[in-house]
Symmetry: C2
Subunit: 273 residues, 2 copies
């Protein structure tokens, strides 16, 4: 808004929950977001891998010693409302802070699994496997998000921002990646509805592009789709694959520029954001 | 294909599985589809409501006494691969038929629940509720579909057609209908991937428009969104709401004209199909 008093997104006293912070994009988000958080911010890192979380924590504190970083080793798929609420409340407790102490309440739904990449969806007939996959990627996201917004209700802080890490797979079908596509499409719709229902929230679905992570390696090793495999191999060889650093920088610009409409999807390659 | 020998969709000896056939659109589909099936076709009706299924069956046989209609009262959310497979195999058994006896293998994924319509997605923090909803609307669809295609693999019959009953909610967020939107978005993506992975299949996501069913009544009674409620009330009063008969006729034309690309979504109001 020209002439307006646009609050800079970064530098605020922030309470941030980040899922999947033990590796890959999540770790880079933690470090770079954390570096830009205002003094006495709190960063809550959730992931299964306790050692990975501790390594992330050390790097974040190296980047910004003026914030509190709390690691919560937890399997999101096994968490419910009570666990998630207590995790957030304990995070506040460790920092001796109350919700109203912050300028920005910020949650980054980055955790997600690739699902079964070997067979096609016509072959996937295991109900248990489907249910576990959907619980991790949809249910736990919905419930954690709900608990976060209960701790930080409307007017509790000046700004509330929710990011969903999405994928091209949310809007385009990919052979051999059916579960991943289904979960990403479902999540993007979830966050669109969230935005529609809560005009006071700022909701962004950010698609990080084809990023060089363990997930990419897993696609290369497991996909049945020779074309997709070759595309990823070529990108890695020609170094045209996006790095964690590049996509982190991009999403930070997108948040800072704030040219998206709440609920919208923005891709790494989209111009004008 | 001009000049080609396009097989008419209706009138073939068909093996059809239809979910949610005890009421509403599903019942109308059963009757009108059944009326057009060739001699010795088999229609397998799955739904929870046993009495509703029997009533549907009687109406189908009235419309076409030359086919076999098998009712399977079952809670799809509780079914797994084994149950679904045995249901299909038993259906073949009752008709003393083998998969290869048919010209068309046809599955209609019509069952689906509206989910929780009262609260917004930010308030829905019940993991059990989310999981049950996703199991019924996504997992059971995926697993039943897989078992159907195992009984009718590529080249087992000349034509294999899969319909997913979708909604405007699959592509547009609606206040107070978050779970429904999420499930419909997820299902549409599932069937897009299925089409991409299986070029020999014919896959259609059909959106029946705002149809006058119990589901509409439930939206009117439960939605928090006054605007949406009023739109439905107005449509009912002015009789501009789509009837089960109208939408059934439309989807039958769409299947017959076959102008959609496999995996595509076609809405009741879309022209040119």
């Amino acid at each position: 808004m020209p002439g307006g008093t646009l609050q800079p997104f970064w530098g605020q006293k922030t309470f941030c929950v980040l899922t999947g912070g033990s590796q890959g994009i999540g770790r880079r988000f933690a470090i770079e977001f954390g570096r830009k958080f205002g003094k006495e911010s709190v960063l809550l890192l959730l992931a299964r891998n306790a050692q990975g979380l501790q390594e992330t924590r050390a790097k974040v504190l190296e980047a910004n010693p003026d914030i509190t970083v709390v690691c919560i080793p937890t399997d999101l798929a096994k968490g419910g409302a009570e666990l998630f609420r207590s995790v957030i409340i304990n995070g506040l407790g460790e920092a001796k802070a109350a919700p109203g102490d912050f300028q920005l309440a910020f949650i980054v739904h980055n955790a997600g699994s690739l699902g079964n990449v070997g067979p096609g969806v016509a072959e996937m007939n295991d109900s248990e496997e489907w249910s576990e996959f959907l619980t991790l990627n949809i249910t736990s996201t919905a419930v954690l998000n709900s608990e976060f917004l209960k701790v930080f209700p409307e007017n509790s802080v000046p700004n509330r921002t929710v990011i969903n890490i999405t994928s091209l797979c949310a809007i385009q079908p990919f052979i051999s990646m059916g579960q991943y596509c289904v979960s990403k499409a479902a999540r993007e719709m979830f966050f669109k509805v969230l935005a529609e229902e809560n005009p006071s929230l700022d909701v962004l679905s950010y698609s990080p592009g084809p990023v060089d992570t363990d997930m990419t390696v897993s696609i290369i090793n497991n996909t049945r789709d020779a074309k997709a495999r070759q595309i990823f191999i070529d990108m890695k060889e020609k170094k045209t694959i996006v790095t964690c650093e590049q996509t982190t920088e991009r999403v930070m610009q997108v948040l800072s520029n704030k040219k998206y409409k709440s609920g919208q999807r923005v891709d790494y390659f989209d111009e004008g954001y």
